[in-house]
């Protein structure tokens, strides 16, 4: 009797081995790498979704392919797209999501809900705004990389390391969107010399979930310095009828706030470490005094550029993308007003004070 029970139990246990009979193999999934969201050309109240994915099958004529569909929301688009393909689509490994400028200006939160709700959707998926249509960008074939989405993913990383654009992931965006005292920002992709060249060097500024403006060139670097995201990259200045370049080597920011007679003063110290990489006006630099003098000049230049970016944020846009509000909230909870912080920010007096430290001069004196 006991033997029969044992055999029976064993049989039941063995049956569990067949539990994976209907599992979907990784090779049989259609793994989406990039997602682009546009406004539909024909139908202005509908969106146009594009997915880019690698065709894993070795015999496929192309290594990668894109599908597009018109739909009112991302959920609907997923349904439409599934009808077009022969495999189950997996959205859990998307690396880059590109919003076209119009979509970003209309607000992107409608698309993000479905991303936050999916349990396996990656929190580290990167966001970017494209100057033109996202579909053009996703169908582009960069000469140097197989997948445009990987290309963009790495390119954002590189520009982040060069202190030009922030890395905005799904998680960051949702944090900056929900938290009081900071407004979101993300990389803004423009075209370079022609439409086959991409330039990931600008920053799209958001108010809530709507894009309002973008920073480029010196402003976008100033923006990164203000955010305290100082990594590397070459920063060039026109000084004394020549050019001075510094190689950034990291740095930090320190924000203090003070209420004087009901006016909000924000003291922002920025420390920038760097190495001299170009100094055309004068060759000989090996003395503590000339380095000190150069540091002071650079500080003035940087301060000007920071002021410029801050002026746009404070006066033109009235939008705190830097995140001063979080400090004001922490230091003066009684003054801070989450609803109208942007107005308070516009009125605040910001004292920004960069400190440049040149660590090395290279191998000429």
């Amino acid at each position: 009797m006991k033997k029969i029970v044992k055999v029976f139990v064993l049989l039941i246990l063995i049956s569990s081995l067949a539990g994976c009979w209907d599992a979907t193999d990784l090779e049989e999934l259609l793994i989406v790498y990039g997602l682009g969201i546009d406004i539909s050309n024909d139908n202005p109240d509908q969106y146009f979704f594009t997915i880019g994915f690698p065709t894993i099958i070795p015999e496929a004529p192309e290594k990668k392919h894109e599908f597009s569909t018109e739909a009112p929301s991302l959920g609907r688009a997923k349904n439409n797209l599934q009808q077009k393909v022969y495999r189950q689509i997996s959205y859990d490994n998307i690396r880059v999501i590109i919003f076209s400028e119009e979509v970003a200006k209309q607000g992107i939160m409608v698309h993000i809900d479905s991303m936050l709700r999916e349990p396996l959707f990656r929190g580290t998926t990167r966001f970017a705004v494209a100057i033109d249509r996202a579909v053009d960008m996703l169908t582009m074939e960069p000469p140097v990389s197989l997948f445009i989405s990987t290309f963009l993913f790495d390119s954002i990383e590189q520009n982040y390391e060069a202190t030009l654009v922030p890395i905005t992931t799904l998680r960051n965006f949702s944090h900056e969107y929900y938290a009081d005292g900071i407004e979101p920002a993300m990389p803004f992709i423009c075209y370079g010399a022609d439409k086959t060249e991409l330039n990931v060097g600008c920053v799209a500024l958001f108010q809530g979930d709507k894009m309002i403006e973008y920073f480029s060139g010196d402003n976008s670097r100033a923006f990164m310095l203000l955010r305290g995201e100082i990594h590397g990259g070459i920063y060039t200045f026109e000084l004394m009828d020549g050019f001075v370049s510094i190689n950034l080597k990291g740095g930090s920011g320190k924000i203090k706030t003070e209420l004087i007679n009901g006016e909000l003063h924000i003291y922002h110290d920025i420390f920038i470490n760097c190495v001299l990489s170009e100094h055309t006006p004068k060759h000989e630099m090996l003395s503590a005094n000339s380095i000190k003098a150069l540091e002071t000049q650079l500080e003035e230049k940087i301060k000007k550029s920071l002021r410029n970016a801050l002026d746009i944020l404070q006066n033109e846009l009235k939008n705190d993308n830097i995140g001063y509000g979080k400090y004001v909230k922490a230091n003066h909870p009684e003054y801070f007003d989450g609803e109208s912080w942007n107005d308070q920010f516009a009125k605040a007096i910001i004292h920004v004070n960069p400190t440049v430290r040149i660590r090395a001069l290279g191998v000429t004196p």
Binding site: G123, H175, K329, A330
Partner: protein, 368 residues
């Protein structure tokens, strides 16, 4: 002293471990969201205060029951509260324990359903969990305690995972400290109280400790303090990471926390976390389940608990299938949490008071 009790023995250290692994369970997942909803950025202070409070209750519990080293749960409550009331409390405790077990099983399967096996039906998941729990406890307390002793090492990586998100976190999210106001901080103690639910199992397990001469009071309080430290660190790190506003938008902050940063080698950190979490929760389920069986055994004066373990299994299984969706599971959990207020808070205090009254009476008797 071994083999003195009918039903296996545990050592004082094992009790210590039982408390730790029992307290760290389902509550971990959304603690910081629930508490953060009330006391904002000061959630961690609420959790900490609550930890101190629970330690205090623990002192009361251990103080009271250590006066009755030879009595089991039923015996000493019958002695203190009178026989009819004692039986009533014991029986209702069984129900309560079974309900809690069912809820935790459901929370676990809910979580597995969401993250790991979205195509497996809940009833299969629950079935597997129930038979695992059954297997864990059918040989009694000694085996369960040993299982916990092994599992407790799983808590170490669990603890390390707290630090994963720190590079992304910023302490500015925790400030202004105390800005939520004392009233809100104290109100925040209420939701965190449920996360710590379970300290009352000492009432059931204490009689089975073999070496009562060891400083059990110290062990119990230390384990509660350890859990408090763990929970406080957890809430701090998550609050620093999300900030009090965003955390309200995340259903299970402890897991989403891990999916938000890129970690080398382990691609999907949240799944890695789940492995440890499942074991911890299984231990919790086993402990709660056995508590119910032990009380039943006390009531019916049976020789073994295994009989009750088998009998309760289908009941618990069906109970765990009762809620229809995640929202109902949460509701169900809240309802049970309210019952917990009686066992975790009122009962220990009641027993302490009764103990003093009875004590006085017996002294009076002796004197007269």
């Amino acid at each position: 002293m071994y083999q003195k009790y009918r039903n296996g023995e545990i050592s004082a250290i094992q009790l210590h471990i039982l408390i730790i692994s029992f307290l760290i369970c389902a509550g971990v997942l959304d603690l910081s969201r629930l508490v953060g909803a009330v006391s904002q950025q000061d959630a961690w202070i609420s959790v900490f205060i609550n930890g101190l409070f629970i330690s205090f209750i623990m002192i009361i519990i251990v103080y009271t029951i250590s006066r009755f080293p030879q009595y089991n749960f039923l015996q000493y409550i019958s002695y203190l509260l009178g026989k009819p009331l004692g039986y009533l409390v014991a029986i209702s405790y069984c129900f309560y324990a079974a309900l809690v077990t069912a809820t935790i099983i459901r929370l676990l399967s809910e979580m597995i359903y969401t993250w790991l096996l979205p195509n497996t039906s809940i009833y299969i998941l629950n079935f597997i969990i129930v038979i695992t729990a059954l297997y864990m406890i059918r040989n009694g307390l000694t085996v369960l305690a040993r299982f916990n002793e092994v599992i407790v090492f799983m808590l170490i990586p669990f603890f390390v995972l707290i630090f994963v998100g720190l590079p992304e976190a910023s302490l500015i999210n925790l400030r202004p400290i105390g800005g939520a106001g004392i009233v809100n901080i104290l109100k925040g103690v209420v939701p965190s109280f449920f996360a710590f639910g379970g300290s009352e199992i000492v009432l059931v397990y204490y009689p089975y400790i073999s070496d009562k001469q060891k400083p059990i009071m110290k062990y119990s309080v230390i384990s509660i303090m350890l859990v408090t430290a763990f929970y406080t660190a957890l809430v701090i790190s998550q609050m620093a990471f999300y900030g009090p506003q965003e955390i309200q938008q995340v259903l299970y902050p402890s897991i989403s926390y891990l999916s938000a940063s890129i970690f080398p080698v382990i691609e999907r950190l949240e799944l890695f976390f789940t492995i440890f979490w499942i074991f911890t929760v299984l231990a919790t389920i086993g402990i709660q389940y056995l508590a119910s069986c032990i009380v039943l055994q006390n009531i019916f004066v049976a020789k073994k608990t295994s009989f009750f373990a088998y009998i309760l299994a289908p009941v618990i299984y069906l109970l765990s299938l009762y809620p229809q969706n995640t929202a109902e599971v949460v509701d169900f959990g809240d309802t049970i949490g309210k019952i917990y207020t009686f066992y975790g808070l009122a009962l220990p205090l009641l027993l302490l008071i009764m103990y003093f009254i009875k004590e006085k009476k017996s002294i009076d008797k002796k004197n007269s």
